[in-house]
């Protein structure tokens, strides 16, 4: 009887909580589905509320930084791009102080942010951040060699640089296939970053 009571109490509390609050999982799904600025802004607002509510959780801050980077690609004004990228940097720096943060994912996102910074002004920022971006992706892969996001972004960057140097990056296809296979195995849970498939598709089309 005591066990039944305990189970019911836990069920009561859980259901009450679920009913009263929103889950991060659908928001993360919306991040992965978002295409245009207004969709990203909507999902950004929700993530920002989660960060305010749970500042010690790394995933909301991580995804907020990711959305900021995505928005920097999509807004037209350079000043606004830099504002989003500056905020992304602030969140990424905060994540480094949280014990739960997946360091490999954090380094990948740092590199991705630099990629966006270069995209905002290739002429000025390309020479400035080239070294750091490679370092971030390779550090991410040093921590987790099977990080598909680091794999695909590093492959894209190396391929772009090889083209610039009138060379070819021989492992491009292999890296993309490896990243694609790992992404396919990811179970879509909201507890870890799951983005990246779009970049594999982008790279395959770009190739």
């Amino acid at each position: 009887m005591k066990t039944i009571k305990s189970i019911l109490c836990v069920l009561f509390l859980t259901l009450s909580f679920v009913a009263r609050s929103q889950d991060l999982a659908p928001i993360v799904q919306n991040v992965n589905k978002a295409k245009d600025v207004s969709e990203f802004i909507q999902v950004r607002s929700k993530l920002e509320r989660f960060v305010a509510l749970q500042p010690q959780q790394w995933l909301p801050g991580y995804y907020l930084a990711y959305v900021d980077v995505q928005l920097s690609f999509r807004v037209a004004a350079k000043e606004e791009k830099l504002q989003y990228l500056s905020e992304a940097e602030t969140y990424l720096n905060k994540l480094t102080e949280l014990k739960e943060t997946d360091k490999s994912e954090n380094y990948t996102l740092k590199g991705f942010r630099l990629y966006a910074l270069i995209a905002s002004d290739p002429q000025a920022n390309g020479p400035k951040y080239s070294g750091e971006i490679i370092n971030d992706y390779e550090t991410a892969l040093g921590i987790n060699p099977n990080n598909p996001r680091a794999l695909v972004l590093l492959a894209i960057y190396k391929n772009d640089m090889a083209k610039f140097m009138h060379q070819t990056y021989g492992n491009f296809q292999k890296d993309l296939e490896k990243a694609s296979a790992i992404l396919a195995d990811e179970n879509g849970t909201s507890l870890v970053p799951t983005w990246g498939k779009g970049w594999v598709d982008f790279a395959l089309n770009k190739k």
Binding site: M1, I4, K5, L8, C9, L11, F12, L15, S16, A19, R20, S21, Q22, I41, Q42, R44, S45, K46, E48, R49, F50, A52, L53, K78, E79, E80, L82, Q83, Y84, S86, E87, N93, K94, T96, E97, L117, Q123, A124, P127, K128, S130, G131, E132, I134, N135, D136, E138, T139, M161, F164, M165, H166
Partner: protein, 719 residues
């Protein structure tokens, strides 16, 4: 059993009631978000504190959402570029709310355009210069000071290499690294051979260059301040080596989770270069420079940074000199040791105070044989200790305060020996200062900066107050700024050694300007008037402080990166009229270094097909005044104009190898900086005239930079 069933049923009821209550009694919160001008703010994030209940405002600023929160709620509104806004909303009022948002502190703090100041920080929307920009500027030869020479307000003094700003002498400009003073920022060079900066531009991520009316925080700079900031964090472990036409070097950084250690060593020897491309100087022993530097950075957390920088260099050469007055040649032999240590601590507290503390030690030891006459020697030992602490805090959106105190302890001793007779001299003194600045944001488009620097100089027991007022107004994206400030600086040591009672030299500056930036174009114009008083003056009877003078002019700057892809060009023009009665100018006259017109046109073209960045710079300056003893008056003649076309190429041989090459004065013009006269009875005019030329017509440089470590590329910085 029946009792137990009742308990279970009750629990079920509670469960259902609890869940239902979660969906019931929803309350609507709605209103609009406006800025201070009552214009709607779209995309603001409005939510109830402590919940995820909220909405994003639409293009009309409207928001609306439902919540089951009862009673009084705390409503928050957030928007990038605006200060977070919170308001208490009572339980009976959740509709027609109006939230007024103001620009946030960070946005306010980012207003960096003020008259006289160039902020050259890489990521700043206003900043356009980084280490890469510096080395790819043709004519800079990879040197920070040469590169700054292409900016408006900097006057071309080719034989010196130092910064001469807006009619001011070179010692009126000071260099700071991480807010700490650098006593001797330039290398030592031979006679009429331009100096270079001691420190590689790759060490710095922020370059703030004030060409006038700069912050009261910086001491002893009547004309300008160059404030350099090293990297707070160096996350990449890397090593690299380089070989060039003048030497070789190498170094690296080891990054740790919470810090890094960087080391760099360089060796220059111009012997081989001068054998291949002789210059006008007669080198008995070639110019050699060994330099080593290191930095330790420690970031225990995101809010705290410890940095220690250490640098040492030794310069040696022997140069044969034939003086006009003395036909006997002498071997001018230089040995120069320079040491610099700088340690800083920065912390941002939870309560928003930014605290800074630093200590720096500069030491210079110079030994010159045959300095002025054959068989003489000159020795100089000079050191400085600089201690500084300050705190910055934004108290409200309206007010930010920056205040601190600092001390300089200085010692300089010289000994001139000739015919076994030693003529020693020395001074030891200190400068103590208290500075405070209030930055007042009157409204988002108007801010004022009111500051004062109270300084006590022990050598002459003098107090000085240096008040400064800066105003900045933005209208339709155009920044208008104006500054009035008073600046003081002790006379040069050579004068203080002769007269320790000389008061501080004084300069009052009035600067006004406009700045506009749009679509990769920057327009800037500034006008200034500088009034000098109490300048050291060597009159026939005494050394006193009766000197005075003025400098006035206009600086114009235009930069365009939008003409076509991968192409950038920059135009800078400075007009200056400057006259002084000071030092050995016993009449009010234009100093020998000053030129009326300075202009620079510079282009950079990134050519992906060639994996190269091409730089081309044309520098022009009108003639320099000089004194011709065959004419009446002083500084009565003018040299021909200066012109130099310089080129540089940066070639990415591979991601690990960068080749940089530069050539100066492609057209081979003989630029004359001055004429020296000596009595010559054989000459019909009674004088013999010798032009002061560049030590060499051209300077060629080629360097190969190789990255050795695996995790980085396209990076020549070892720091």
């Amino acid at each position: 059993m029946q009792q137990k069933m009742k308990e279970i049923a009750l629990l079920f009821l509670l469960l259902i009631a609890g869940v239902i209550s979660g969906f019931a009694q929803l309350r609507t919160v709605e209103g609009k978000v406006l800025n201070e001008q009552s214009k709607p703010i779209a995309n603001a994030n409005v939510f109830i504190k402590g919940t995820v209940d909220g909405a994003t405002s639409d293009s009309l600023g409207h928001f609306s959402f439902t919540t089951d929160e009862k009673g009084e709620i705390t409503l928050c509104s957030r928007m990038l570029g605006y200060a977070a806004f919170t308001v208490q909303v009572p339980g009976n009022n959740s509709s027609a709310l109006v939230l007024i948002m103001r620009p946030d502190n960070i946005t306010l703090d980012n207003v960096v355009i003020s008259a006289g100041n160039f902020r050259l920080k890489g990521d700043s929307q206003f900043g356009k210069m980084s280490a890469v920009d510096i080395v790819t500027t043709a004519g800079s030869n990879g040197d920070l000071y040469h590169s700054l020479g292409t900016l408006p307000g900097v006057q071309l003094v080719g034989e010196s290499g130092k910064l001469f700003i807006r009619g001011g002498d070179s010692d009126e400009s000071q260099t700071y690294i991480d807010e700490m003073h650098v006593l001797s920022p330039y290398t030592t060079s031979g006679e009429n051979d331009p100096v270079r900066g001691r420190y590689s531009p790759f060490m710095f991520e922020g370059i703030n260059f004030s060409t006038g009316a700069g912050s009261s925080e910086y001491a002893q700079g009547l004309s300008g301040v160059l404030s350099l900031n090293t990297k707070d964090v160096s996350p990449i472990s890397k090593t690299g080596v380089n070989v060039s036409s003048v030497g070789m070097g190498g170094g690296g950084t080891q990054a740790f989770e919470k810090g890094s250690v960087s080391v760099n060593l360089d060796y220059e020897d111009l012997g081989a270069y001068h054998k291949l491309i002789p210059d006008r100087l007669n080198w008995i022993k070639p110019y050699k420079l060994f330099s080593g530097s290191g930095q330790v950075r420690f970031n225990p957390n995101q809010r705290t940074v410890f940095k220690t920088f250490i640098g040492y260099d030794r310069t040696t050469f022997v140069q044969q000199i034939t003086s006009l007055d003395n036909p006997t040649t002498r071997d001018f032999g230089m040995k120069d040791d320079n040491f610099y240590l700088n340690s800083t601590y920065q912390k941002t507290t939870e309560s928003g105070y930014k605290i800074f503390a630093g200590a720096a030690f500069s030491f210079k030891n110079q030994h010159i044989d045959n300095a002025v006459l054959p068989e003489d020697t000159y020795r100089e030992k000079e050191w400085e200790v600089h201690l500084k602490t300050k705190a910055t805090k934004r108290f409200t959106d309206f007010l930010r305060i920056n205040a601190g105190l600092e001390n300089f302890f200085r010692h300089d001793e010289t000994a001139y020996t000739y015919s076994s007779t030693v003529h020693p001299d020395s001074i030891s003194h200190s400068i103590s200062a208290l500075f405070a600045t209030a930055i007042i944001n009157i409204n988002p488009n108007l801010y004022a900066e009111l500051s004062d620097r109270m300084e006590y100089t022990s050598i002459n027991h003098e107090w000085n107050s240096n008040p400064r007022l800066a105003m900045n107004y933005t209208l339709n994206g155009i920044h208008f700024s104006g500054v009035i400030g008073k600046y003081t600086q002790l006379p040069e040591n050579k004068y203080l050694m002769l007269n320790k009672d000389l008061p501080a030299e004084e300069c009052t500056q009035y600067v006004g300007g406009m700045y506009y930036e749009k679509k990769d174009k920057i327009y800037r114009i500034e006008t200034y008037y500088k009034k000098y008083n109490d300048l050291a003056l060597q009159e026939p009877t005494a050394l006193n402080s009766n000197g005075y003078g003025y400098s006035k002019g206009v600086d114009v700057f235009f930069n365009d990166r939008s003409l076509f892809k991968n192409f950038e060009y920059m135009l800078a023009y400075s007009f200056n009229l400057s006259k002084r009665k000071y030092q050995d100018y016993t009449e009010l006259s234009t100093p020998q270094y000053a030129t009326t017109h300075n202009a620079t046109a510079s282009i950079k073209y990134n050519i992906p097909a060639l994996k190269s960045i091409l730089g081309l710079t044309n520098r022009f300056a009108s003639g320099r005044p000089y004194h011709d003893p065959t004419k009446e008056g002083i500084m009565n003649s003018t040299t021909g104009f200066y012109n130099s076309v310089d080129m540089s190429v940066t070639y990415l041989a591979s991601k690990k190898i960068i080749i940089y090459a530069s050539a100066s004065n492609l057209l081979g013009r003989q630029n004359v900086y001055n004429y020296n006269y000596t009595a010559d009875t054989a000459s019909p005019e009674g004088y013999r005239r010798t032009p002061l030329l560049d030590s060499s017509t051209h300077f060629f440089y080629i360097g190969i930079f190789i990255t050795l470590s695996g995790k980085t590329a396209y990076d020549v910085s070892n720091f």
